[in-house]
């Protein structure tokens, strides 16, 4: 744990923040977010929301699926229904944040220092954070992650703003192409960053179990898919670990 040593001079928080910001802006996700939020901004325009409301929803909600639900149902559904759908679409943040938190454990890091990093956590920031944080000294991780998150959320804000103005002119096929960006990018970035069998298996199982659970119509399909596919992947991982330990002398 040499990085916890108080002798080690760590870079100043503003500098680390800027480095994180740079990583965010240079991440492939930045362009993915611009593209994806172009579609979202256009959708907000079509449903009659204001420019500033769209920007506020990105800053406050910062979850594309939840924002898609909000924008497309708010004008027609009961508020309770909308809130329930949004909360179900965001359940994934619980395990994501819980998996991320240990990376920030360091002396002097208080619970409230983590409120902003956790708010900035969306799939894109999480994937990049899980990849980049382990290489940073612990003392620098909060500032770096905040920079990363602000860099990526600015891509979403820019995309949303441009999409809002383009809405009147966007041909349907181009809009469909933009919406397709998200699943493609998630699929490939997750497989590129998959460190272990656990990650790959969980992802592959999730792709298969997700549509089945959705088709069975239990409700809460994202949560059930995560629990079922994630648990199977974890059990297979444990079984393999146990077998490897058993076979090596």
């Amino acid at each position: 744990m040499s990085d916890l040593s108080p002798d080690r001079p760590s870079a100043s928080p503003p500098r680390v923040f800027l480095e994180g910001l740079k990583s965010g802006v240079w991440s492939v996700f930045f362009y993915v977010l611009v593209g994806n939020y172009l579609g979202l901004g256009a959708l907000a325009y079509e449903f009659g929301f204001s420019f500033w409301w769209m920007a506020a929803s990105t800053l406050l909600v910062w979850a594309a699926p939840a924002q898609v639900i909000l924008i497309s149902t708010l004008t027609t559904s009961a508020l309770v229904e909308v809130a329930l759908a949004v909360t179900l679409s965001s359940v994934r943040f619980l395990p994501m944040v819980a998996a991320l938190i240990p990376l920030f454990n360091a002396p002097g890091v208080r619970q409230r220092d983590l409120l902003l990093p956790m708010h900035l956590t969306a799939i894109s920031v999480w994937v990049e954070g899980m990849r980049l944080l382990p290489a940073r000294p612990r003392a620098e991780r909060v500032a770096f992650y905040n920079g990363l998150g602000v860099g990526l959320i600015s891509g979403a804000l820019i995309g949303g703003a441009i999409g809002f103005y383009l809405a009147a002119r966007l041909p349907p096929l181009l809009a469909a192409t933009l919406l397709f960006f998200t699943p493609m990018a998630l699929l490939m970035s997750t497989s590129r960053n998959a460190r272990a069998l656990l990650d790959r298996l969980a992802f592959a199982l999730g792709l298969v179990v997700g549509p089945i659970v959705g088709w069975l119509n239990f409700g809460l399909d994202l949560m059930w898919t995560g629990l079922i596919a994630g648990t199977i992947a974890y059990l297979v991982h444990r079984w393999r670990e146990a077998r490897n330990v058993g076979s090596t002398p």
Partner: protein
Amino acid sequence: MTELQSLVILILVGFLPSEVWRWLGLVLGRGLDENSEIILWVRGVATALIAAVVARIIFIPPGTLAGVPLSVRVAALAIGFLAFLFIRRSAFAGVVVGEAVLITGAIAFGS
């Protein structure tokens, strides 16, 4: 609806229902070791949830993507992923190939 009303609604049915899971993750995740068994399990669950989001966008697509036939959406994702695997694991190549298949398929088989 006034601008203030729509902002209050955004906070009540958008921000709070979504943010509460981040707060819960913060409360539950503190003090856990990153390689502990529970965190490994949670990582599996989170990864599977992301896969479920991908599957949902493909099978229950939002907006204009619904205008592209399901077979084209699935084929575009699969061929894009194969391109990613074979072209030096480049996400950019995968996205370009997948999008090209989507556009071609939508023009050829779309309504």
